[in-house]
Symmetry: C2
Subunit: 156 residues, 2 copies
């Protein structure tokens, strides 16, 4: 079964809700999570915290941490996922931050993406280096997040 | 010139920033607004206020209005756009609400979409009835929002 459909089915069967915070993917994960009819039963909402300002103002991520990392680090992804779960009152929350390119941010190579998944049973963050164009990096990041959420759901 | 590229150029040339609140499009407009390199100069962030709960908790839309309209009305779109501009501190904000289908919400026909654009010079909301699949309705809504923002920018 297609990972997205599998994810939505598992969430529904277990009465679990999900939300997302996205930086480099710009809303693409939320778009995927609302692609199937009936997604409103599980998807609470998303925050496209694209600017550093939005990461601070919407989710209270520390300004010094944001300046130091330019918003691209495992710690930022973890904090975003935890705070999104609280803010949107969801069982699971995913956060994606990274450098989609072209050009590097803060000496972080293009394609570097951190994906965090937060839940009461398991929280994890992983670093990926995706290759390809800006568009390809963004799409790979969103689809990889779906697989990472599925992996966390195996603990439920 | 492609509308998205034209929009991003106009925003940059005029030092204007933008943000988005999306319901039925689920983040697709934010995804488009971050598609081109350098979009961080103009795109502040987005809110995927998919559930009624998110429309209330993230942007303070009145619960009674939400229950009465199921979140799909010109008034809700207008309020979302105004509050998103405030919340994300942007010059322009767009909000999209609607019924992407399949099936109608609150007797509102599938394909009904309200798009609001808020700015200090001009604020407008328009109702559309899009045809096609859920995916086609969502994409048409996001691309139509880009044209509506361009139209508002002509007042600047």
């Amino acid at each position: 079964m297609q990972p997205l459909r599998k994810l939505m089915n598992i969430l529904k069967e277990n009465n679990l809700t999900i939300s997302a915070a996205e930086s480099c993917t710009g809303g693409y994960l939320s778009y995927l999570l609302t692609q199937l009819p009936g997604s409103s039963a599980v998807f609470k909402g998303g925050l496209v915290t694209y600017s550093l300002e939005a990461k601070n103002s919407l989710l209270g991520i520390n300004k010094k941490l944001l300046e130091h990392t330019q918003g691209i680090s495992a710690e930022v992804a973890l904090q975003l996922s935890e705070k999104t779960a609280q803010s949107l009152n969801s069982d699971i929350a995913t956060a994606i931050v990274g450098a989609a390119g072209p050009g590097s941010v803060n000496k972080i190579p293009t394609g570097t993406v951190f994906i965090a998944v937060h839940s009461r049973k398991k929280t994890c963050v992983k670093k990926f280096i995706f290759t390809g164009s800006r568009s390809q990096v963004r799409k790979q990041a969103a689809y990889t997040a779906i697989n990472q959420i599925l992996s966390v759901l195996s603990y439920f």
